[in-house]
Symmetry: C2
Amino acid sequence: MSELRRDPITDSWVIIAPDRAARPLDFPIANARPSAQATCPFCAGREHETPPEIASIRDAKGWRVRVVPNKFPALRREGTTGGGVEGLLESAAAVGAHEVIIEGPEHVLSLTGLPKERIPEILATWKSRLLDLKRDSRLAFGLLFKNVGERAGASLEHVHSQLIAAPVVPVRVRAELERCVHHHRETGRCLLCDLIAQERKDGARMVAETARFIVLAPWASKAPFETHILPKGHASHFEATDDAGIAELAEALRTTLIRIERALDGPAYNVLVCGAPLNAPASDSYHWRLEIIPRVAGVAGFEWATGFFINTVAPETAAARLRDLPV
Amino acid sequence: MSELRRDPITDSWVIIAPDRAARPLDFPIANARPSAQATCPFCAGREHETPPEIASIRDAKGWRVRVVPNKFPALRREGTTGGGVEGLLESAAAVGAHEVIIEGPEHVLSLTGLPKERIPEILATWKSRLLDLKRDSRLAFGLLFKNVGERAGASLEHVHSQLIAAPVVPVRVRAELERCVHHHRETGRCLLCDLIAQERKDGARMVAETARFIVLAPWASKAPFETHILPKGHASHFEATDDAGIAELAEALRTTLIRIERALDGPAYNVLVCGAPLNAPASDSYHWRLEIIPRVAGVAGFEWATGFFINTVAPETAAARLRDLPV
């Protein structure tokens, strides 16, 4: 059973989840196995190895996308223990959700290994899961993310994403929301709308642009080749994107991942869908974004302690390289 | 030449350091080489491969500790470019320091591989370097840290620590300082003095105790077997520790590392010396600590995006295991 604990010094929450220690790993430290396909619980034919499906997309030939609860969840929707405060030590009921979106029946490692026409329905599934969890009033915050490759924190190779929803908004996200509210109060405008306008005008960090989205290497990139995709029109929640937007985003994500995989020779990476809290109404001040973080550099002691990252590739260099790559 | 950039969304600073991309790595991704001793620039006999010494401890037989500038520095003390603001994009002069403390002439991987009588002079070197950098009024913040093993961000195996000093206090550290000031204003006491009293009384997360220090697994540990060493008496800066305290801390650190290395079979780890800013006077509200972070789990997408860590080992479990191990 998990427990949420607040750090009395930093105010950050931590999920203590002893049950997750039992999960299988495709990536032993020795990297001995080239592929884990032979035992992969996400491959077609091994559906009985996952918990019962929450949702799926199927046709006569079988499933194309399955959503299941994480078998080793960080947080669960039921059976939580209550929180409490004892002196300086505070815990909270560890209610939440931890779902896995299995993005195809075939054992490929990255979204770019799937037929392009199937990516939109994967992103539509991300959206529908977020919309479903929004209805649970106990959940304040949700993050849709992908861990691809061992260096990005994946425990299984098979193409998948995850969704964690928690009863508290992380302190770092709260601080970001507050900065956006502050900018909106001062200027009457959204901080990211302003930033997008400045980046489009400058151009040095732009990677690509579609009708509704821009792809850029952010000014203060924490990681080499960090790349963000943002809607040009103001929107606080990814899950409010309409079908045409989902299709366009899917293609922008696919082509950007292809560029990054070519530039860095198939790196481990994370994808993060950063939006306003699940339980917040549409906001004039916050603007969602999708982040792609190639994990070619580790998180060393300095970064761990301070959150102050050292990045050896200037975003202007990364953007120029990504722009020039054919897709 | 490095550049400091502020993230307009999160307010965090990032060091863009293209020169560091050229540094050699003992740890190729394939992990092909068992040891890098044959070419190690930190071993005795290869002193000419490092930049000129800043400080050293020697006797008739040669050096035991050397301090050199990092050959591939994230920040430098001289020759920086000025900062500026253009719209939402802010940069700052990348003045700073990035030093390497080579902790012995022999190619060992961890402090625990050195004779115990030599550890105090290593910690005394940490102290003297921090005291020296304090005299540079441009430097606001300094962090002494160790990266041990590839998963902890080390690029070289040979036992060493690093010191990075920067002209700005990281936003995460600033937030922690503010929380401590707030607690002191509300209660008249130091937050960590209160926490230490509570932890000693509770006992469940205590690992060891000496005359002046306690060793504990923190309530909201972010990583399995995360362990902190704190002075029992109030002190805001590590570098103010007297010689007897340095000797006692050195032995507490050595025995704690031995316990962690036995419990986890020689894990990669970071050591972080977290104190009040270099340029701050002694403070009644902030209390320094030394953190040991075993890096058995990676930083996956959820943690990267939110700072909200998932830890599969309860600190009470880790503390009990560490307490029971012989040293």
